[in-house]
């Protein structure tokens, strides 16, 4: 952790701590990133939006604002905590402000407002920061390599864990096979039956709609896996208060498989 250069505790002749920020260059980069990332987020759906959107919500506004503040020169950890917390605060306060202004809180307004806050803060920082008296900390490749090994080991195992979890979750979902049968009254005299096949294979169903044994609809339908089939029928000749039974069986099987009914209004 580096000491605060404006601190009264610092000896007057003590050397200034190394400036680890990028000064004007960083402000410029933040400005470009804010505009660019907002543009990417507003564009057509693409995989880069994962990164650009997350950066706009979780990092960039806080980082740009922090560049304007007189803070003790923090280390990366302190900076990370402040950047994320400030970014989330900006997002929440921006959302409240949009709502207060009766504007929609949607992709467009969020992207523009977050880019505007980040861009404005970066511009102010750009105007205020001194010309490049920048000394970048040299990257110690050996130190990076030392940290890389445990990080890599954990990343591989963590990724495998999540992959396995998703795979087993998907497999469990696919094992929960079923057929959905539903009926919907469209008008006083029309109704529609819907069969949805979630059995994991193509199915051949027998569908019968009847009133007191008189069939209104009798049909064999083949429904592909994960597909739905809708069939309409008329209730015009059915007396009010009568119950229309709709039975679904697997073709060539006799026992009722699914059963719904509709009471004629």
């Amino acid at each position: 952790v580096l000491p605060d250069s404006s601190s009264p505790d610092r000896a007057p002749n003590a050397p200034h701590p190394p400036n680890t920020s990028l000064g004007r260059s960083e402000s410029l980069v933040l400005l470009v990133l804010a505009v660019g990332f907002a543009a990417v987020c507003l564009g057509h759906s693409n995989p880069a939006q994962w990164l650009t959107g997350a950066a706009l919500v979780l990092y960039l506004p806080g980082r740009a604002i922090r560049r304007n503040l007189t803070l003790p020169e923090p280390d990366a950890l302190v900076g990370f905590v402040i950047d994320v917390a400030m970014s989330l605060s900006v997002v929440v306060l921006a959302g409240l402000a949009l709502n207060l202004a009766s504007a929609d809180i949607d992709r467009r307004s969020l992207a523009i407002s977050l880019a505007a806050v980040t861009g404005y803060a970066a511009l102010v920082a750009l105007a205020r920061s001194a010309p490049a008296t920048i000394r970048l900390r040299r990257v110690d490749s050996r130190a990076v390599a030392r940290w890389a090994v445990p990080v890599l080991i954990f990343a591989v195992l963590a990724t495998a864990s999540v992959w396995l979890a998703r795979d087993s979750s998907d497999a469990a979902d696919s094992r929960a096979t079923t057929t959905q049968l539903s009926v919907q009254q469209l008008s006083p005299t029309r109704a529609r039956v819907q069969v949805t096949n979630l059995e994991g294979r193509s199915m051949r169903y027998r569908l019968v709609a009847s009133v007191s044994g008189h069939a209104l609809l009798s049909k064999t339908v083949i429904v592909n896996s994960t597909a739905s089939r809708s069939l309409g029928f008329s209730m015009a000749k059915v007396r009010s208060g009568a119950r229309i039974d709709i039975r679904l069986t697997v073709a060539h099987a006799h026992s009722p498989f699914r059963e719904v009914w509709l009471v004629r209004p």
Binding site: S7, P72, L96, A165, V183
Partner: protein, 650 residues
């Protein structure tokens, strides 16, 4: 030095210090990674109904907690290693929640929040009424952030929530680590603070959910961390840090009620202690009176309560607190038998922890109390009497009080929801306890020769005891906070939070979203299907009482009588959702008030009789409009029309 005087940096130029560090960290990373992998395997086996899930689960928990702790003690002077271990521990534990529900929202709280997420996503405006939990839309911070993530990344809501809450989890742990490390000037103390906090009953699951408290708590801890930074900064930087604390504090106030009230109390407490410090030599540490953040946070929290969320907060918290006090007073007076602590309401032994685990839960409470008392005893040392330490230890004193609330079922939830706030005191207790006496006295009282001995013996003696205590604390915390059936995934269980959320329920929710008119009122025989449907579409689940009868009477009664019809028409319930599994599987959390017969075995009372669910088949004017073999949906439109005609006629 004005800020963050953590001086426990590794002396990197000592020969041979780097290689052991890399090796130790690699071993720790491998073991934690294997812990996550083992957890994932346990979940996969649970989904398939295979055995050995519980054994694998506890082994994974030990792998997640113990290696980072051992590595931190091993590398006790290495700040860089401690930071890495904090990150490793946090991510490793967060993955437990991810692998349990990798694709969707899975807990009841998340599904209830889903309604508010969807409302904001579709209406583009805040404060849309959530009929499931009224206070969610009144504290919209998490909804704005997670919906913003969804809008900008085009990820689904579940993945957006996982990213936001995951990053905030890191923020919480890093802020806590830095805070303790800076105050006590000891990196190991910072790590131990995080480690013990991660053992709190809610850290692993509840605070990792995509919900409003998980969003607000890390920000609240950040505010306290900023005050710690401010107390050690120059005047100009101090003003800036206090300003930042105000802004983030306001965000907390609009994000979660209890967290904002807790933060307000902490900041007011800090202000009070800060003022006392100027008059008393008993309190040590830097001089800071954070009156501005205290005023802003407590003021905004109060104003938000009065003008925005009063009704909803009272409606949500009022009955919980009232019933808790009532139940406790009844128990104390002997009118109500005390509940066995750390057990579920179910009478089934399969749904409760074995005696060994319940004993470990009791032992974990004992360990927590030892840490708390040990930390309090260390207050005789000047360095331990700093304002943040005093504040957090004072919060820890509430821990035994909250445990007493576990004596009744009604007050257990209050106890459970407070652990993430009071456990900061326990974590600081260990952090102070682990400091050697030289540091506590700034090397004056005991002399250097004593310190050398302490440093040699400390890691070996205390380290071993600490690992055993930690294992007890971690396992006990989970036993206390999470019922056994909800720790891993598994086959369906009725009324069992995560275990009740199945693809079958999600499919009926999807069907309802595409077939029901907006605003439709419905009643569900089980809470999970009700919340799934309410979260997926703009529908209103009917619960509570109507005409002096609970809506659940519809499903708890053997016949559909006039009372049932009155409930349907009175609450304008258009659809009734019935899950056959309630009659096939035991309920994890409730014993139905009915009895099949007086001589029926106890476990039968946790299953709903089939006839109670089938009765709707025989009600005239009720149509069965959906059937998937497991869940059936009945349409009461004709009943409602007849009632409307009757009302109009009369």
């Amino acid at each position: 030095v004005t800020v963050a005087p953590v001086r426990d940096e590794l002396v990197t130029d000592e020969p041979g210090t780097e290689q052991p560090r890399t090796t130790v960290l690699c071993v720790a990373a491998t073991l934690v990674g294997l812990g996550d992998l083992l957890m994932s395997v346990a979940d996969a086996r649970g989904r398939s109904g295979l055995p050995w899930v519980t054994t694998m689960y506890w082994l994974a928990i030990l792998l997640l907690f113990l290696p980072p702790a051992a590595a931190a003690v091993w590398l006790r002077r290495d700040r860089g290693a401690h930071v890495f271990l904090v990150l490793l521990l946090t991510v490793g534990l967060y993955l437990v929640k991810i692998v349990t529900s990798p694709t969707n929202f899975a807990t009841v709280d998340e599904l209830q929040m889903l309604r508010s997420f969807n409302d904001l996503l579709h209406s583009h405006h805040l404060f849309v009424v959530n009929p499931i939990v009224g206070s969610y839309p009144r504290f919209p911070g998490s909804q704005i952030a997670i919906v913003a993530m969804t809008e900008l990344t085009r990820l689904n809501l579940s993945n957006s929530a996982k990213i936001v809450i995951g990053v905030e989890h890191l923020v919480l742990c890093l802020a806590l680590y830095q805070m303790v490390a800076i105050v006590l000037d000891d990196s190991l103390a910072g790590f131990l603070g995080v480690l013990v906090y991660a053992c709190n009953p809610n850290f692993l699951y509840f605070d990792a959910e995509g919900s409003y408290e998980s969003f607000a708590l890390p920000l609240a801890v950040t505010v306290i961390f900023l005050l710690v930074l401010a107390s050690r900064a120059s005047e100009k930087a101090r003003r800036t840090l206090l300003g930042l604390a105000c802004v983030i504090g306001v965000t907390v106030c609009v994000s979660h009620h209890m967290t904002s009230y807790w933060l307000g109390v902490v900041l007011l407490g800090w202000t009070l202690l800060g003022l006392l410090r100027r008059r008393s030599v008993l309190i040590s540490g830097p001089d800071l009176v954070p009156w501005l953040p205290a005023l802003v946070v407590s003021g905004v929290a109060a104003l938000w309560f009065v003008f925005v969320a009063q009704t909803q907060v009272r409606h949500e918290l009022g009955p919980v607190v009232t019933s808790a006090f009532h139940a406790i007073s009844q128990t104390v007076q002997g009118h109500l038998p005390a509940k066995a602590p750390f057990s579920t309401p179910s009478t089934s032994s399969d749904l409760n922890d074995p005696v060994v685990l319940q004993l470990i839960a009791f032992a974990s409470v004992a360990v927590a109390m030892v840490l708390l008392v040990g930390g309090l005893l260390r207050l005789r040392y000047r360095r331990a009497r700093q304002v943040p330490i005093l504040l957090l230890l004072a919060l820890g004193l509430l821990y035994p009080v909250t445990l007493a609330l576990r004596l009744t079922q009604a007050s257990t939830e209050t106890s459970s929801r407070s652990s993430e706030f009071v456990f900061f005191g326990i974590s600081v207790g260990l952090a102070v306890l682990a400091l050697d006496r030289v540091k506590l006295n700034d090397g004056i009282l005991f002399g250097r020769h004593r310190s050398t001995k302490d440093r040699r013996l400390g890691p070996r003696i205390i380290g071993g005891a600490m690992l055993v205590g930690l294992a007890v604390l971690a396992i006990g915390g989970i036993v206390v906070g999470q019922p056994p059936y909800d720790r891993t995934t598994g086959v369906y269980l009725a009324n069992a939070d995560v275990r009740s959320v199945t693809v079958t329920g999600e499919r009926v929710a999807t069907w309802a979203a595409s077939h029901w008119p907006a605003g439709t009122a419905y009643a569900s025989a089980d809470i999970t299907n009700g919340i799934l449907i309410g979260g997926a579409g703009n529908f209103t689940p009917q619960t509570g009482d109507i005409n002096g009868r609970p809506v659940s009477y519809l499903f708890d009664s053997p016949i559909f009588d006039d009372v049932s019809a009155g409930i349907v028409t009175g609450d304008k319930i258009r659809f009734l959702v019935v899950d056959n599994r309630l009659a096939q599987e035991p309920s994890a959390t409730s014993n139905y008030p009915l009895q099949v017969s007086p001589d029926a075995p106890a476990h039968e009372s946790s299953r709903l009789p089939v006839a109670y669910l089938d009765k709707f088949d025989h009600v005239p004017d009720v149509s069965r409009v959906y059937d998937d073999g497991t869940i059936r949906v009945y349409d009461t439109r004709l009943l409602l029309k007849a009632a409307a005609r009757h009302t109009k006629g009369s």
